[in-house]
Symmetry: C2
Subunit: 176 residues, 2 copies
């Protein structure tokens, strides 16, 4: 699939067919995620591949916006590793770039995914860290639910000209 088609047809997919996601597909998503840029190429991340129904059943009670998790074929918990940072404070950006790669890889594989937030909500961070036995230096950033989408996604643009400025804030970018 073309890169622009993937970017523009990626949507938050919360309804799945129930078909499995293969190990090869999961590995391709993780490979894409880990090939993201990071500050100093520190790669301060870890990924938990979660398909244990007992754990997954608890996720909606930890995050009310993750109610789709039990219907997903697999969940991926994306975590920062504070002990790996070369430039402290950049792990959220690094892990977010990895997640965006993961979401686009899902689209490229014909899968659908949704990014559900954890950090910086402290209660939610503690709850996920406890459920998945994370050490103190490992901070859960987001849970990504993945499955085969029930419906095909159309191409979309969210371009807003008023959010583009030219050389200084408030000066319009005259593209025509």
């Amino acid at each position: 699939m073309d890169i622009f088609t993937a970017i523009h047809s990626r949507r938050s997919v919360r309804a799945y067919t129930g078909e499995p996601v293969t190990t090869e597909e999961t590995r391709a998503m993780l490979d894409a995620a880990m090939t993201a840029p990071s500050a100093g190429n520190a790669r301060p991340w870890h990924f938990l591949v979660i398909d244990d129904p007992v754990s997954i059943a608890q996720i909606p009670s930890l995050n009310p916006y993750a109610g789709m998790a039990p219907a997903a074929a697999v969940c991926i918990l994306v975590c920062g590793d504070l002990s790996l940072e070369k430039y402290p404070g950049f792990w959220v950006q690094d892990c977010s770039a990895a997640i965006q790669n993961l979401l686009l890889a899902a689209v490229g594989l014909g899968l659908g995914a949704v990014w559900t937030g954890i950090h910086p909500l402290e209660d939610r961070v503690r709850a996920f860290a406890s459920l998945f036995a994370l050490p103190p230096n490992i901070v859960p950033l987001a849970l990504i639910a993945v499955g085969r989408p029930k419906k095909e996604q159309q191409r979309l643009s969210r371009y807003e000209e008023e959010k583009v400025h030219y050389n200084r804030y408030g000066q319009a970018w005259k593209v025509n």
Copy 2:
């Protein structure tokens, strides 16, 4: 270009031919950026398209890792807009997803780009905010330098099996 080729051939490109980037190419990168997911679809971002040589000449003194900026065809300053957040605290993740889309779009256009960090370094935030006359609710996250790359990038994987865990932290993911 295929989505996986784009993801795996994206590299931090700091050497450019000096050829221009067209307005259409810049617009395609911004369109990709703004089509990224954001918490509550709040899209809490703004983008400054910068090609003014007087401003760009000052950038390396604000960030020693942005020494390539004067050689780039265009720089894009990616900012969070704190007044647009629906779920406070998620703007860094939202803007980082937008940046990753922008970087991949650059690859898809045959361009090369590099992500240079600003937030959360307070001195650097203040310096960029001052140079580009940003209002108080607009926080510069990163400056992206873009140009035509001097050399072609090979496909790369940074996959690390030891960063993948299965169902709980520390349990290996047995993929074979």
